[in-house]
């Protein structure tokens, strides 16, 4: 099984919560998907469970977005492959708090 080195950029609130400085680099075994990346992220930082995906259903929280390669991947299926650039580490997966407010 291939292991990928995947870069993830978290929003400020979650970097504080996870005590993360800068990007997170995760070792992801097998296909690089939203689910496999977030599983690896939550394994490394259990405090983030429930903050990006809902407990139980593991659905993306309503005010969280996933961007990469200048594309909005928020509505892509969680088991679909992320872009090659994310799987190779050339581009990060951006976890973004939805723009809302004034």
């Amino acid at each position: 099984m291939t292991t990928h080195s995947v870069r993830v950029v978290l929003p400020a609130h979650l970097r504080v919560l996870g005590r993360v400085d800068g990007e997170v680099v995760l070792a992801v075994d097998g296909p690089v998907t939203q689910r496999s990346v977030l599983d690896a992220l939550e394994l490394r930082h259990p405090v983030l469970r429930g903050t990006i995906r809902e407990h139980g259903t593991l659905r993306r929280r309503a005010f969280v977005r996933f961007f990469a390669c200048e594309r909005d991947l928020s509505h892509e299926p969680p088991d679909g492959p992320l872009p090659d650039e994310v799987a190779t580490g050339a581009e990060p997966l951006l976890v973004v708090g939805a723009m809302a407010g004034g």
Partner: protein, 371 residues
């Protein structure tokens, strides 16, 4: 010399305000969890260094934080609040049915006897318990499963369980309040619940003295008289002397009986405090004057307490969990405002002074009396 620690939850973080028994000079720490909504913090009665905080936000959901050193450091503990079984439905504002959905923890109530046991009142209304210091949470589903559950509806702030009273004689006896369902009581540790709203009358529901549907804003009781309950309802200040079996109005000569907070003096079970708010459509003090009202007669007869409080151009609100009392010899009274002020009265309400003036909007105030 004994002292106090005031725990303040705000729209943008938590603050801890500490003072000695004189309550004149204050040390202020925070913001803790900057940028997050802190609906409530509370300390254990048996271990004052054990604190719990509800941290939440619309983007990233709910977290529970625990401190074992009086608020200097914090650790995130369990944040999974899953309803037991089929969550069912309740009423939306327009009377249609919507699924029960967890949003946030409004209130944390540590056990009176065990620092690792704590209750959480949540939106949509339900009661959860942790017996492992917040590591995991289990619903007490008998409350949400009360036969009237499908008819409960949200107040303007959401359908929240905001008040939890533990009976010091036996914690199997609990009273909770839900906006806008009413007050409920269990005598068996949370398995079976009864609605205890007889005597309440509310406009805005088809049957004004219905079994449920009342927008109770807050309830309070004194530890030595747990069967005497005080209530600030949407409109009306109420009292029960039989554990909630029957309520009577004690608004008496208040200038308006709309409001959110209510609390009881630490040493005088018949001395009660409220902060009247103009009306249901104008959540500011009457005439721009911030006044606490005190009744030394358990209701009906009220006196305004104004010394040190702004008496002109004041248009803040005082939310339901934003008043507390300490148990020093001269009982201290505290409240916080949506304008970011936290006021203290070290003399039972006779005089007031701001501890801080410019915090984010205050959601909750609790106080610990330290040895």
């Amino acid at each position: 010399m004994s002292g106090v620690r005031v725990l303040v939850g705000t729209r943008k973080g938590a603050f801890v305000l500490s003072s000695d028994g004189a309550r004149r000079d204050w040390d202020i720490s925070g913001p803790h969890f900057a940028g997050w909504e802190i609906y409530h913090l509370k300390g254990s009665a048996t271990d004052p260094d054990r604190l719990y905080a509800s941290q939440s936000g619309g983007w990233f959901g709910q977290l529970i934080q625990r401190s074992d050193d009086g608020g200097r450091t914090w650790t995130a503990v369990g944040n999974e609040f899953s309803y037991e079984g089929d969550a069912g439905t309740h009423q939306f504002f327009d009377g249609t049915s919507v699924p029960w959905t967890f949003t946030r923890v409004w209130h944390l109530e540590p056990s009176l006897h065990d620092p690792d046991t704590i209750y959480a009142g949540v939106e949509d209304a339900a009661l959860f318990r942790s017996v492992d210091g917040g590591g995991s949470w289990q619903e007490l589903p008998g409350l949400r499963g009360h036969g009237t559950g499908p008819s409960w509806q949200p107040g303007a702030g959401g359908m929240c369980l905001h008040s939890i009273l533990l009976d010091p004689r036996d914690e199997a006896h609990m009273t909770v309040a839900i906006s806008a369902a009413g007050t409920f009581r269990t005598d068996d540790g949370g398995r079976i619940w009864r609605a205890i709203n007889r005597g309440l009358r509310s406009e805005g529901i088809p049957d004004q003295d219905a079994e449920v549907g009342h927008c109770v804003h807050h309830i309070a009781a004194h530890a030595t008289r747990p069967d005497t309950l005080f209530m600030q309802k949407h409109w009306d200040v109420m009292r029960s002397d039989d554990g909630g079996e029957q309520w009577r109005e004690i608004s008496g000569d208040l200038p308006t009986d709309f409001g959110f907070v209510i609390d009881v003096h630490a040493h005088e079970p018949g001395t009660v405090y409220v902060v009247p708010i103009t009306s249901d459509y104008l959540h500011v003090p009457l005439d721009g004057k911030l006044r606490v009202y005190r009744s030394r007669t358990g209701g009906d007869e009220w006196e305004p307490l104004t010394r040190g409080l702004p008496q002109e151009h004041c248009y803040v609100n005082v939310l339901r969990d934003a008043m507390a009392v300490d148990s020093l010899d001269r009982c201290g009274i505290y409240f916080g405002t949506t304008g970011g002020q936290v006021y203290v009265s070290p003399d039972e309400g006779d005089t007031w002074a701001p501890i801080v003036r410019d915090l984010p909007a205050v959601l909750s105030v609790e106080v610990q009396t330290l040895p």
